[in-house]
Every structure is written in structure tokens, then in C-alpha cells.
């Protein structure tokens, strides 16, 4: 399985962005930064999948990975919203306790 050169560039960029995002999740202390890191990682994974969808140098890209990415995006957006809401609750609780 060989990728066309253009797609290869995108695929390598996707791998790089994935690694940057994963590093953010693992190395950052602050939860907000971790959540952003998870989003960056998601973008990297999706970029890689988009690049891999072009399975032949000429001819249309494969629609199945696009479907996978769309679903993955929905999951990532929902999970991000959920985590941000949780972080908000957590900050509210902690601030509330500090006040008393």
C-alpha cells in the first residue's frame, strides 16, 4: 500500500499532530490544557485518516474513512463538551468551598 506523495505529507503531519496532542494530555497538569490536548490529538487522528482515504493517486477518495471521521468528530465534540462541563462544575465547587 503506497500513498501518493501529497497524501503522505498529510499523513505524516497527522502523526505529528497526534503526538503533540498526546503529549499535552500526558504532560500538562492543568485539566483545561489536557482537554485542549485531547482535541489536538483528535485533529491529528482525523487528518491522518483523511490522508489515508486517498488509496490511489488518481480516482476518488474512499468515502468510508470520511464516514469514520464524521462519527469520530461527533464523539470528540460530545466528549469535549462533557469534560468542559465537568471541569466547570469542579471549579464551581472548589471556589464555593474556598469562600466558606
Amino acid at each position: 500500500m503506497t500513498l501518493p506523495p501529497g497524501a503522505l505529507l498529510y499523513a505524516l503531519a497527522g502523526v505529528w499532530i497526534t503526538v503533540i496532542g498526546l503529549r499535552g494530555v500526558l504532560a500538562e497538569e492543568d485539566w483545561f490544557r489536557k482537554i485542549v490536548g485531547a482535541n489536538v490529538m483528535g485533529s491529528g487522528v482525523f487528518l491522518l485518516l483523511v490522508a489515508l482515504a486517498r488509496r490511489a493517486p488518481d480516482g476518488p477518495p474512499d468515502p468510508v474513512p470520511h464516514g469514520m471521521i464524521l462519527t469520530g468528530l461527533v464523539v470528540a465534540v460530545s466528549a469535549t463538551a462533557l469534560m468542559l462541563a465537568l471541569l466547570g462544575f469542579l471549579n464551581d465547587r472548589e471556589n464555593g468551598e474556598d469562600d466558606t
Partner: protein
Amino acid sequence: MIAPPWLLSLPVIFPLILGVFTLLIPAHTLKQAGKTGAVATAVTTLPCLQWVWQAGPLHQTLGGWGAPLGIDLYLDGLSCLFLLFAALTGLGISFYATEYFPRSAEGHRSRTDLFWPLWFVTWGGINSLFLTLDLFNIYVTLELISIAGTGLILIAGTRGAIRAALQYQMQALIAGLVYLLGVGLVYNALGTLDLQLIAAELTPSPMILTGLALMVTGLIIKAALFPVHFWLPPAHADAPAPVSAVLSGLVVTVAYVIVFRLWFAGFHTIAPNLVPRLMGVLGAVGIVWGGILALRQERLKRVLAYSTVSQVGYLFLVFSLTLDSPAAEGLVWAGTVYMAVAHGLAKSAAFLAAGCLQKTEGSDTLTALRGAALRQPAAVIVLALASINLIGLPPSTGFIGKWMLLKASFYTRQWGIAFVILGGGLLAAAYLFRVFEVLMNPPDRAAAPDTAKPPLPLSRGILFPAMLLALATLIPVLYITAPEELLRIGAPVSFSRFITPGAAQ
């Protein structure tokens, strides 16, 4: 004989519909709906059992779209056994939950009412994961379970629970992305997402090997294998008891079963030997590490949560044990399935009992539970029955599973693994006896500040489901050949030298 087209989809769709239904109905009818729905969901798995027993494995396509494009469901002995396991555990947890969560006033919804929709969605997802053959469907369903699981943890409402839920959701998202990346690579190489079609065409190319490695990595994070177990103890210990039982008894097992299925569907033929060895070593370290940390916990639910980390380790020994000796394959394979089922049932029962103790004693710290055996004998008995399994004492299913793994490790001369299996049992005995020592000791009268305990807020029947789950782990001893025969149906391994302790040698 033609299978009805709904046979395999019903155990998936029905609980999902119930999830929506329980979100809409008035709050005061929820408990009744929960009980009825749980019984009905469990019943939907019975036609699957009947079919697989009489006619063997069954392959069904959804909506007339077959593989490679559509999603296929597949039923064999293994998936049927796990469907029944989920049904039994789910029934127990549901009946317990109706008593555990306070009854809502008419026309008023409280946070605990959200247990039912989230739990039924989780149950549907679990059934789906046991049946599906589509790699991408596995991803979607795992994420569905994770998001529902986050909601379930939040029912506790405490600060610790919110933090645990945040961590749980983060690991789930990352693990899911890693798995999805692997699926993308495998799809790119083979052009299909159907597990059986993939298994037929596997070659050890770099693309496929990387893809499989990423998929397995994502799944072992969700299965909480050492060293990626860090998210499990807070999530499982800070959730309300029925939720702990769902997460520790069912959800972890499901993630593991997918690794197990993928591996024996064909991954084991192309993976370099290093991979199963590594998984075996991580499993062995996890057994010891989880056990040691369980010994050091001061809260009962934390002890049980670390015990899950330890018990998951046993399940990963299979990859290393089947490597050297194909002849012992069936033995290890079935032993691992028995251990997974025994742990799921026993751990659910243990968490349910711990929930009772926590409610009636006001806390689950070991100091607060001192002498609880006198006040709550039933809960302590359930905990003891579950412990028999976790330690692996006869005559429990946990013992049979451990016995088979031990036998296989002798057979394949993997003495290190044999040592860890035996040592892990001792560790489990140590951390559980430490709990029982506290529970059985009479409280110090001079130190007891007030004898007036709060009145029992729990009804008498609450422990029945937990008791049944704990007792269910003793059934295979009475009739040992039935689960074994079920497992043989469509099994991907050879059972030529498969001998259970009950059968004649």
C-alpha cells in the same frame, strides 16, 4: 431452520429503546419500569442461547447490508456465554438499584433517576459489543458506553466523583482515538472493517501490524491493564455502588473480551512473539501491583477497585500461555473465560454488598466498618462468597478458571506465570482477610462514641440480588459440562486436550 431476523439485534435494540423510554416516563414509575425492563432485557438473550445450542454459530447482517460495507452481528458459544453473563449481572444490579436509590416524589425527577436511562444504554452497548464483528461499530459502541459511564459516575454528585468522571472520560476519549487510528490503518491496508474478512486476509505488513498494535493499545487502556489502570480506582470507588458494579463487573470485562476476540480471530497468527509475552508480563505485574495496592487501601470500595486491577491481570496471561503450546490452547482459553465471568459476577456482588455497608454504616472506611459483621451479617456473607471467587478457592468458578490456567502454565513450563498465579491468590487472600478481620472484630466499646446508629435506610430484600450473583459463581461446579459445551460452539481454538477438573482424565 432459518433464524428470525431480529434474533441478534433484539438484545441490542431493546435496552437502547428502554434507555429512551425510562428518560420519558414519570419518575415515580421508574422503579417498576426498571425491574420489568431488566427482566425483559435478560429474556431477549434466551432465544440466542436456544439457537446457538441447537443450530450452532449464527451470522446476521443488519438492514440487509452485509459485509464488507454493512455491519454484521455474530453469535457463537463465547458471545452467548457473555450475553448470559451480562443478563444475569444486569438483572442483579437492576433489582439492587431499585432499592438502593431513594424513591422519587411524584412529578419530581432527581439526579438518581438518571441511573435508569444511562444504565439501559450501557447494557445495550455491552450486548452489542459481545455480538458485533465490525471494528468501527466497536469504536462507536465503546464511546457510547464511556459517555454513559461518565454520567453514571456523576450520579454520586460528590466532588471526588466529578473528578473521577473527568479522568474516566479523558482516558476513554484518548483510548478511543488510539483504537480508531488503528482501525483506520487496518482499513487502509485491507479495505474492510469486518472482523472475519480481515482475519482471512491478515498479512504481517507494517501498516497492519501498526494498526493492530494501536487497536490493542486503545483496548487495554479501557480494560485497565497495568500500567494504564490509573483511572480505574477513583472511578470505581467514588461511583454509587450499583454503578461500581456495572463498571467493574461488566464494562471492564467487555473491553477485555474485545481484545480476546480480536486476538484469537487471527491477530495471534501475525503478531510477533514479543507482543503476547509483553501482555503476559504486564498482566503478571498487574496482578501483584493491584494486590499490593489493595492491601494498602483504607476504604472498602478502594480495596475492591484495586482488586479489579489485579484480577484483570489474570485475564492477560492467556496471550502468553497460548504462545508456546497450541495443545494447551483450549484449556487456557476456557480457563480465562471462566475467570472473566467469575470475576464479573463476584466483583458486582462484592460492590453491591459494599454499597449496603456504606449506606448502613455511613461510610466505607475500614475504621467505620469495624464490627459490621454483627450489624450487617447478610452483607458480609455476600462479601465472603464473592471473596471465595476472588481468591480462587474451591468450589467457585474462579477456582476452576485459576486451576486451568495453573495447569496450562505447568504444561507449558512457564514457571514464572505459575508462581504469579499462586502468589496472586495469596495476595487476594491477604487483602480480603484484612477486610474481614476488621468486619468480624467486635467494636471497641470504650471507644465507641454512640451506640445509636442511624436506622437502616435499606429494605430487607436489597441483598437478595447480590446474594444470587455471588451464589451463581458456584453453579458450574454442580453441572460443569454445560458452559464448556457452550464455549466449544464456534470456538477459534482447538479443544483436543481440553480437560476440566470435573471430567475424567
